[in-house]
Symmetry: D2
Subunit: 297 residues, 4 copies
């Protein structure tokens, strides 16, 4: 068992029952499927896992069940995003004692944070646990944008932060991060349609919810780039791109849960105010999946 | 006692003790001061009230104490913003039974919401209570931007929504709202530096945290516009504009709490990850307040 | 004859013949009409005048004919925007010798300009002529955005620059300009739908193409604000707002020329790549004008 | 002699004499150098060539001299950007008769253009000449942004448009273009720091001003990608990235002319309002070039 993260890190959704409670048995099955598909790591309670919509008790239950389900077969990185630092620390400590290998920390905000406030947020969490932190930048959901310069500063000042996940979808950010850290900080792609560019730019891996619906194409893309086979990588990328674009555009929990249902796997619907994918969009998704599946045969 | 909202609606901050608990006695004193200054309404648990950073138990305690402190001397509108619809409904019901005259509902998001999801969020809350709702648009903090067309649609489709608070700082939004609602939906300014333009455009009032530090100038500005005295209004506006710009730029809880301390009123500091105003910025604020006070004598 | 600019400064369009040549007799009639309507100043060769699409010879002819048509009955401010400084100087000198009272200088760019480059551009033009310059900021058309701080710096460093026209549509820009210049630099509104807010904020006037189609409402709005009658000003503003929004959204030369034709005045069509207003949009404009005219009776 | 464009298409700057006239002998030497370095095509009068700042007579002289200098040793694509369609047509015809193999057409604007206006602009130019057109999208300089959907429409509706150059720096635009055109329209990268991502995504080439200062690294990067050697491509890319970032950030004519002088080649300075690179920035550039040269030995 290693904590050296690389490759395809998969986000399970958080299944809900019909009466809007977390559905742990289904979560366990889903994670088992992901591990069985051959992904390289599991990231419970990420954006896709609707962690922002869970109360503390639910969150703890999902964290515990997820880590039990993985059962150290793969490295795990648990998502930590809470509006208060103390809430984030509490979740970080819980995940640590429940067996997480690493934490993926996304600062979220209501009021904008200064760089110093963001650094202190990371430092406080880093001081509270003894496992590595993957810094996570995703302004579209969190409302906070960490420029490459700030990310590099945090990597210098907070020893626990040893990895970065970049989800802005701007390849220039990754280039600048490589420059500012002299290539010494592993970075991961978090913007699905940027996968080819990010891996070409030297990303260590790709954190993605796509494997919930289709794991083989992301895995094959990663392997092709790792093997330096650009032509194959490019072909694999354009084949899966419609799926990647669709799940990002429609929101990951919404589209992944709709896709799982199309796959015959009932993980429920996202929590309100999120609503199930519309019938029209579900038809589009069905078409995308059918075309992908046909191409895999 | 009337619930006809107009004029200066003041946001109290939520005081914290040194060990980061909500400080209800201080909150009561603060609200008493605001009522005594002559403001026209009180809006507990708004953005300034750090409601996003309170857990449910704290939130309920602050709502209850605030409404007790006002004691029906003025109309009250309690801020409701929660990532889940069910959490928002719970808070709305609590505020209703605790005596709120109205609710100010801000949809917040992690994942982007579709227009239909936003409408349903408002409708669900509206169905759960029998008091009016002030729709609140503040994309800079909430991550969701309600265009005037969507606001007008919600006013049409959700009967409980009878007022609008616009905080984008774009006067064109207010003009379009007047046009789309044919002037029948009262709207309030929520962007402090837009106060003159908004009142000139016909806003019914101004929701603001400024009265925590200076109530007389906002009140005088409102009265001057109500009296149609534009020259006086303009002079009053430019006098207080440096304060308005400063508190917006530095974040309302951060700057207002620093200003209260300068005023000799200890409401504690904002909750982490927010940090106290820096010493340098506190000096700037002291200068602004000193100049304002000199001008008032 | 005074050069003290204030009030409604009207932009004539530049009429073209059917074979795409400048139509000076029609231009003369149009300017005569505008003067007759009672506007307070004339601004030939502004954005509305399609000056960007004229070659030097055409430009000189239009400048000369416009100033002849005004014949010193009103103050004139001639628009100067050219990609090269030497071209701008040439046009400035021509306008000066042809009798312009002032110049309205808009820096345009292909490559972005640094603040120093912008200052030098103004200084070079200011050194070349001995008439006042109105600095003009309109990033939507020019590709260069002059922040209030830069505008204030230019007003300090280039003595010829004595007035500002702000067309970003952001009222905060005007507030900051008042603060930075301590109210000593007269500023004009250049964003039609911002007219009420700008005049309320203390603008000296409003540079607008609307008088080509409707001069009385802009004039009445200006007079109401000057008289401090906010209620009348507000009512007048909302009455003309649909026209103001329409002409801005559709592009001023395109919509104004379509409107003139609806008024029975043939000023031709804009120069390609600009195309005439579509039939559908022309119908919308006809409806707006008909409603306005009905309200004036 | 072929017109099949691919690989590194180099933009020469337009040299000026000390008294601000175009310097054709120096231009001829510069183009000769570029051809000698082994680039795959020459693009006179692009953005880097300051074509926007030349009058018609100068433009014609530069076009003629450039094509003479290339003398059909390499494919040539001449930049056409003019505010009026008739001006663009005139330049297109001139370039055609002077021997250009293709035209690179950038719609520029003062007033925003509708999609229909943009299509007609391309169609009119396409009808006027019988050589292929490379559609060029560069909103940062032109003020007009052509979405991938509009680009694909133009490729369908205007037969002369057979290639695309994308300069937004957004790799997603290229992915969408590949999808919308089903991979049938060759596209070129026009944003220097996007070179690796664009070539990985399948770009046919890279239009760049970098070869004025350093041709071997861009050529080597292109060859590495063409050979499918991603590891080498990545290493080559990061080595030249500081130069690519610097020349984009400081403006291409400004930085390239400063760099040429550092290389001992006097191409003069850019035309006002553009100013020469500051001394401090020139030192930075000298450092970047020295480091690159050391790495080449």
């Amino acid at each position: 068992m290693t904590t050296a993260f690389k490759g395809i890190i998969a986000y399970p959704v958080t299944p809900f029952t019909q009466d809007d409670r977390v559905d742990l048995p289904t979560l366990t099955r889903l994670i088992d499927d992901l591990v069985g598909q051959g992904v390289h790591g599991i990231a419970p309670l990420g954006s896709t896992g609707e962690s922002a919509y869970l109360d503390d008790k639910e969150w703890d239950a999902v964290a515990h069940a997820s880590l039990q389900a993985v059962n150290r077969r793969l490295p795990t990185v648990v998502g930590i995003s809470d509006l208060t630092t103390r809430g984030a620390v509490r979740r970080a400590r819980y995940a640590r004692q429940a067996g997480a290998d690493a934490l993926m920390v996304l600062p979220v905000s209501y009021w904008k944070l200064t760089p110093d406030e963001i650094v202190r947020h990371y430092a406080t969490i880093g001081d509270a646990v003894d496992i590595p932190i993957m810094l996570y930048n995703n302004p579209a959901t969190s409302g906070i944008d960490l420029a490459p310069e700030l990310i590099a500063r945090i990597c210098r000042e907070v020893p626990a932060v040893t990895m970065v996940k970049e989800s802005t979808g701007d390849i220039q950010r990754m280039h600048r991060l490589v420059q500012l850290t002299e290539g010494r900080v592993p970075f991961f792609n978090g913007s699905n349609p940027l996968a080819l560019a990010a891996l070409a730019a030297g990303a260590s891996g790709w954190c993605t919810a796509a494997p919930n619906l289709q794991a083989q194409l992301p895995l094959a893309l990663y392997e092709a780039v790792a093997a330096g086979d650009l032509a194959t990588a490019r072909a694999l990328f354009y084949r899966q791109l419609p799926l990647l674009q669709f799940i990002v555009k429609g929101g990951l929990p919404t589209t992944i849960k709709a896709g799982l249902r199309l796959r015959g796997f009932d993980a429920g619907v996202p929590r309100a105010p999120l609503q199930p994918l519309t019938a029209a969009d579900t038809d589009v998704l069905a078409g995308i999946l059918a075309k992908l599946d046909a191409g895999m045969r």
